[in-house]
Symmetry: C2
Subunit: 125 residues, 2 copies
């Protein structure tokens, strides 16, 4: 019996580490917004993303994009324009985040209603 419990706890530790792994990738103030923006338009340039996301600085956008690239979620392509522009798109692996993004979107809407909705529904619109 003790063995079963130990196994259960072991499994749970694995699960927690897995979720944590996901969060490590997704953490960062803007990461999800960036993915969401790229995903929404399929291909998106640096300056476009900069405009999509209210309040982000180019420093942060650059930094977070680099991290996403390292994690193989985003592919970076330099376009031979004048001046040069850079195009970002999700990798296949990045695409697999869509379900999660979608779930987070739905949950976020419900949560906002739950927390402030009753008192201040206008904030939602």
């Amino acid at each position: 019996m003790k063995c079963v419990i130990a196994e259960f706890q072991q499994e749970q530790k694995k699960r927690m580490r897995a979720v944590q792994d996901s969060m490590d990738v997704l953490n960062g103030k803007w990461k999800i917004s960036i993915i969401s923006s790229i995903c929404c338009y399929k291909k998106r340039r640096f300056s476009d993303i900069l405009n999509d996301i209210e309040g982000i600085s180019n420093r942060m956008l650059s930094k977070e994009l680099k991290e996403l690239e390292i994690n193989q979620l985003v592919k970076r392509t330099v376009l031979d324009t004048q001046p040069i522009s850079v195009q970002y798109e999700l990798t296949e692996h990045g695409d697999t985040l869509q379900t999660i993004i979608s779930n987070l979107t739905d949950w976020g809407i419900v949560h906002r209603k739950k927390i402030v909705g009753e008192k201040c529904p206008v904030l939602i619109g």
Copy 2:
């Protein structure tokens, strides 16, 4: 046509804000692990969670639990024991996170394989 595009962008902004809302709640170094721990055992005491999560300090656990409580994800109950103990459980609203946690878990496993798995599969086990 311009109107359609504008509407589309407006929708996208709403989606991004919704995801961001979710992340605001879920951000914090330990929040997901805490939820995962409570969720796994249904009811869990402070010191038990402290043991479940490797590396967390009581200061952090206390702080993050408080935030989760404010966001109505977790319910706190003081038990009349000697010495007192405190039990935490997910609220109904907190329960709705299970899908997301589950997805994040699955994705985390895949992601770890993707990033380090090929070179160092032993890290996964």
